[in-house]
């Protein structure tokens, strides 16, 4: 074995600082690995593809006839809410994936390599966007099949999808941090269920926020899930003319409010997760 393959240079800097280009390359390698896994684990793929279809059909046909939203059909109202709920659940894949890597010990391998310290997490959150792109695409098709329509401009609709994906990306970082604290796939799945269900139901996803009783209404109005749902509804043109203007600032400016949430969440949880990752060990 030749000893010259690794040049013992100090070009990487004393602390082994890694250039942006190398960091992006590392993120790409990790994301590619995760994408390969999507295609090899059929259970996951089936879940990603089938659960959105199930949600759309369940809500459209079970609740769709009994919940009345003035001025619009419930299905039209519902779709954006289901989009938001599904991408939120999609974000839990990030947590489950990281917990699994921790359990299997491959994190030790990554940590012993001269790769970027943030690439394992950034690669994971990036590849999980792909899960969500797939889910959203399937949901949109199912939605179109049951009568949902984009009534605004295409550009706005693209903006709506982008906002949903950005929101899920931010939640992915929260899930990454949780997974590093509690590296157990089972705990992650159960815990995220307990947090995400109330978050998506105490919101305007399935019923108008104004219909909720007092404190729940306030919570729903400021719940970021409501904001991203409201934003998607507006951008898809699914809010019929004559609908009363929401009273809360968060729902009057849902795009801005969602973006603020995304930026703050990533700014807080990405560094927290990376620092937690550096200190974590599977042993």
């Amino acid at each position: 074995m030749s000893q010259t393959a690794i040049e013992p240079t100090t070009a990487g800097g004393a602390g082994g600082r890694i250039s942006w280009r190398d960091t992006l390359s590392d993120i790409g390698v990790i994301a590619h690995r995760n994408v390969i896994k999507i295609t090899r684990v059929p259970e996951v793929l089936v879940f990603v593809l089938l659960s959105p279809i199930m949600f759309v059909l369940l809500f459209a046909y079970v609740f769709g006839n009994s919940i009345d939203i003035p001025g619009t059909t419930y299905r039209e109202f519902l779709i954006a809410g289901i989009f938001a709920q599904t991408v939120l659940f999609g974000a839990t894949f990030t947590g489950a994936g990281i917990a699994e890597d921790m359990q299997k010990g491959i994190i030790d391998r990554f940590k012993s390599l001269p790769m970027s310290r943030s690439a394992v997490l950034a690669g994971r959150t990036a590849s999980d966007v792909i899960y969500n792109v797939l889910s959203v695409a399937i949901m949109a098709l199912t939605g179109l099949a049951v009568g949902w329509r984009i009534r605004g401009s295409i550009l706005e609709a693209v903006g709506g999808f982008a906002l949903l994906l950005l929101f899920a990306y931010a939640i992915s970082w929260v899930m990454a941090w949780v997974a590093l604290l509690v590296p157990s796939v089972e705990v992650i799945n159960n815990a995220s269920f307990m947090v995400i269900f109330p978050l998506t139901f105490v919101a305007n996803t399935f019923v108008p926020a104004e219909d909720l009783p007092g404190p729940l209404q306030t919570f729903a109005e400021w719940n970021p899930v409501s904001a991203v749902t409201q934003a998607a509804r507006e951008l898809f043109g699914n809010i019929p003319p004559g609908t009363p203007e929401p009273t809360a600032w968060s729902l009057q400016n849902p795009v801005l409010y969602t973006l603020i949430w995304v930026v703050i969440t990533v700014a807080v949880f990405a560094p927290l997760s990376v620092s937690r990752y550096q200190r974590s060990s599977t042993r």
Binding site: M1, S2, Q3, A5, I6, P8, T10, G12, G13, A14, G15, G16, R17, I18, D22, S25, D26, V29, H32, R33, I36, K37, R40, V41, K104, G105, I106, D108, R109, F110, K111, S112, L113, P114, M115, A119, S281, T282, R283
Partner: protein, 334 residues
């Protein structure tokens, strides 16, 4: 292989690490000359894995410092990672990916580039006898194949310093001997190796120097022979064919013995401590022949590392807890 003049590839001084109330490392010093193999020998919980985790930058020590291939562990962790390869106790490979994909991924994370990574993956699969299985997902591999792949992963970038943490724990005897062959070949190519093991035989087979650790500190170090000598030196054991010649044989041995000679009359056996190994044995045999003393058995008995371990720590190396370790127990009690 073992050059005393070479600069040390690994130097660690006063490494300490606590986990809550548990002291995992209690001031460990290590020096591994370039191109040599250090065996870190100790029972479970002795601190072996903690030591490897610290030296490979996975854990930060509470106290102490270390230099790996010239790079300082605290101030240049990135440089350290560039110069090491780690193969752990638990095969750290991705089960869903194929063997080849695992190696290419590692190559790319060492920044060998796409082409070179693919080339290295192919070379290593070939060398570790995994070519046929290279395009199958790792979850279809046997335990021995996973370990070989994990070891191949540590070699992707041909790092000058390798850390192998209990590379054969849990393997069946055949896979273990195969893996020993692979490790010997690596060393013959000039790599510096730090190997942890709870198997005395493994340290004896592979290591130039051995550090015995227990409760997070080194309790003895030296070559396998030096360690064995600490416990007691070599002994000649001989059995004479005719009990009547026991006294004559005793006289011959007395000229070479460095201590008291033990005589077992019913077995017609004599045991004498000596210093000088095979040369002394040859002299003794010539004299015995010269005096026409017929013998039915003769040999040099050296203490095993098991004796060393028992003497140093007051307990047997390891209670076996799985099938693969059962072989060792047989050897220990034999």
């Amino acid at each position: 292989m073992h050059q005393t003049t070479a600069a040390p590839a690994i130097v660690a001084t006063g490494l300490r690490k606590r986990f809550g109330d548990v002291v995992a490392l209690d001031g460990l010093d290590l020096t591994v000359p370039e191109g040599s193999v250090l065996g870190l020998l100790g029972p479970n919980g002795a601190g072996k894995t903690t030591a490897v985790s610290i030296l490979t930058t996975l854990l930060e020590p509470d106290e102490g410092s270390a230099t790996i291939a010239g790079a300082d562990l605290r101030t240049q962790p990135g440089e350290v990672r560039r110069r090491i390869g780690l193969s752990g106790q638990f095969a750290a490979v991705d089960e869903v990916l194929t063997g080849r994909e695992n190696l290419v991924m590692i190559g790319r994370l060492y920044r060998l580039g796409r082409t070179r990574s693919k080339q290295r993956a192919a070379e290593l699969l070939e060398r570790f006898d995994l070519s046929d299985a290279g395009d199958r997902p790792v979850k279809t591999y046997s335990g021995g194949m996973r370990r070989r792949l994990d070891l191949a992963g540590a070699l992707v970038a041909e790092p000058p310093v390798l850390f192998l943490d209990e590379p054969t724990t849990g393997l069946d005897p055949r896979s273990r001997i195969e893996l020993w062959g692979v490790i010997r070949e690596l060393v013959s190519r000039g790599a510096t190796l730090l190997l942890t093991t709870q198997y005395l035989e493994e340290a004896d087979q592979l290591a130039d120097d051995i550090v015995v650790i227990d409760h997070g500190r080194a309790i003895a170090s030296g070559t396998a022979d030096q360690l064995k000598a600490q416990v007691g030196g070599e002994r000649i054991e001989l059995v004479v064919a005719d009990a009547a010649r026991l006294d004559d044989a005793h006289q011959v041995l007395a000229a070479h013995a460095t201590g008291d000679i033990e005589v077992q009359v019913p077995a017609r056996a004599l045991q004498a401590p000596i210093d000088g190994g095979v040369d002394v044995l040859t002299d003794v045999l010539q004299e015995l022949r010269h005096r026409q003393i017929e013998i039915s058995d003769v040999g040099i008995r050296r203490p095993t590392l098991d004796d060393v371990f028992l003497t140093l720590t007051g307990h047997v190396a390891e209670e076996p807890d799985d099938d693969a370790q059962r072989t060792d127990r047989a050897e220990v009690t034999a």
